[in-house]
Symmetry: C2
Subunit: 374 residues, 2 copies
């Protein structure tokens, strides 16, 4: 795959099929329509699909997966976690060239698709936009939902470079920033920053409100901190049993780490360990204040050109290294030198961290050249 | 005490001494200055007091507790929990007619003051504004910090009606809504809605950030829900060892309830109990959506006139009953019939709940008459 310099993103994404036209699928459709991409939608509910059409979230409604997939450059599966794999497999069965998804859990989904269609596994690229809304359904869809948000992609050693580049291009069209992480690693991370926080917030709300008759007065005492902390408990609960079931092991591990830490806090309160409590609170304060906010500032960009053997594992190796080093990758393409053989990854990254990335790549045996950005 | 109908609040609060000119003391000073109350400030740090004067949070700076208290109708102690009782006692020693505080823990503070100055215990009215800021120090002070906020007052069976009325008037001047609760009950409630949530948020942030090298990528995955939930972890940790020590037993009880509930959630995740998880999440969602927001809607008001014997316990009995029944009390005064003897509590309450309050008062042996509000 070689993309033109002008708009590498647009070239590969002309027609997208969105399977599942809810909040996320609808938001993807709205945003892609604004970028003049043809969007065709399919939903198990005719009513939901019709509503998506009405709102302009899809340009056309297909009556079957086969009809939706027909002619699409890319298929986006945007349904609850438990339904992703069957639908992705159906999309491949219908001839989809590339499939991605937006599910909150990645490893079991990727594994199920690989097991069912090993021949097409290279063209499935798992995805997970780290954005959501308290709203529900396509009526809450928003073309700007993903602007500035992180969007995890989970290429594996099997992933086809062309498929990866296309999915990454779509993420770019939506205004999100792609971060590449291995599937199981993603699941462990979201257990910590999403799944366990949801359980922690809902449980706290449930415990606080359990006082029965006292509930009303208690709730009047709840100030901003409590409101902030329990806000996610107001979200739609329907998605969670699926997610918690699919990501069971990672959730249990993160939940146990949280419970153990709360046990240590309990001991510190009981024992009057003021220093210990203060240390924990200070560490947490520093970590919270270091949370990145919004879009990163405009930085100097550096182009790295990396000659690579033309084999699938290369994408995962290079991109997950960049992810691990937290180097922002603003553009990514693979230029093949010809039939088979070697190619060159051209990667545009933030200058901060580019040295580290270059060193890391060299350690992995790559020869990296810095190109000029005009 | 009998207040005039026109502005019952102003009559008693002409000059206030604020001891401790930080964020809360400064905000009280700024708000009272706007209501043309004379505010004199004292702070252990001359620099902090001078800064408060510069910002207009106090009209004058006193060089000692004695000087600050001199001529004040009311003394507000706005220092960290561990320092409240000594300072309140010093204020009484200096001749303060009425003292209130703004500490997050009430029962031990009230007990310490009662033990040290049993002769003045009737004129200490514990207080706790349920409002705060991520800011710190008098530079973060805001005259509107308390507008629409709940402000707990903790009268006891010893509390003097005049002292209570004056403190309640000050709360009204600040735009806050007074809620009366017994001191120990307050401590149990704030453990649930403030102290344990702070520990839960900071612990979660600490656990999530413990990954070391993974921290940076993890933090990029943190979406809005995680940010909301950990926001209070960014606050100043210095106040917490004091609060957690002072409210140790109530915090442990609430923390254990939380840990036990998380244990049940863990079992549900491990056992794949989708229904159980969904039930908890649904309960929490309903409770969160029922959190009152902002100022309550304008409601029909009812005046209740309650002839009472002129003894201190009456205030606590009537107001904590209203608190327990969650009846909004918008105005409160005691009209004494003459020297000693009986008086009449005139209480303006929201119509919703007034029947319940009336019934509760009659059960306690009071004879309640409904007055007309023009």
């Amino acid at each position: 795959v070689s993309a033109t310099a002008g708009s590498p993103a647009r070239a590969d994404v002309r027609r997208v099929a969105v399977l599942g036209t809810g909040l996320i699928g609808g938001s993807i459709g709205l945003a892609l329509a604004q970028r003049e991409v043809d969007v065709v939608g399919f939903d198990a509910s005719d009513e939901r699909a019709a509503r998506a059409r009405e709102l302009g979230a899809v340009g056309a409604v297909a009556s079957s997966v086969e009809a939706a997939v027909d002619g699409a450059d890319l298929v986006v599966v945007a349904v609850p976690v438990g339904h992703i794999a069957p639908l992705a497999i159906a999309a491949f069965d219908a001839g989809a060239p590339i499939v991605t998804d937006v599910g909150s859990v990645k490893a079991p989904v990727v594994a199920e698709i690989v097991a069912a269609r090993p021949d097409r596994a290279a063209c499935f690229v798992g995805g997970h936009p780290m954005a959501g809304s308290e709203q529900d359904g396509v009526d809450g869809a928003d073309a700007h939902l993903f602007v500035g948000a992180s969007w995890v992609l989970t290429p594996t050693t099997e992933t086809d470079p062309a498929a990866f580049t296309t999915v990454r291009a779509m993420v770019g069209l939506l205004g999100a920033e792609a971060i590449e992480v291995e599937p199981a690693h993603h699941d462990a991370l979201v257990a910590l920053v999403s799944h366990v926080p949801q359980l922690a917030a809902s449980t706290l709300m449930d415990v606080a409100s359990a006082g029965g008759g006292e509930h009303r007065i208690l709730m009047r005492l709840a100030a901003g901190g409590f409101r902030d902390m329990t806000r996610i408990a107001a979200g739609h609960p329907g998605i969670w049993p699926d997610i918690l079931t699919a990501n069971r092991d990672a959730v249990l591990q993160a939940l146990d780490a949280y419970r153990e830490a709360l046990g240590a806090v309990r001991a510190a309160v009981a024992g009057g360990d003021r220093e210990g409590l203060l240390d924990m609170l200070k560490r947490a304060r520093i970590a919270r204040r270091n949370l990145p906010v919004g879009t990163p500032p405009v930085e100097e960009l550096v182009e790295l050109r990396i000659p690579v053997p033309d084999r699938p594992g290369v994408i995962a190796e290079v991109t997950t290294l960049a992810g691990r080093l937290d180097v922002n990758v603003f553009d990514f393409e693979i230029a093949h030198s010809g039939e088979g053989g070697a190619g060159v990854i051209v990667l545009v990254a933030a200058a901060t961290g580019a040295d580290e990335l270059e060193a890391g790549l060299q350690e992995l045996g790559y020869h990296v050249a810095r190109g000029a950005l005009e």
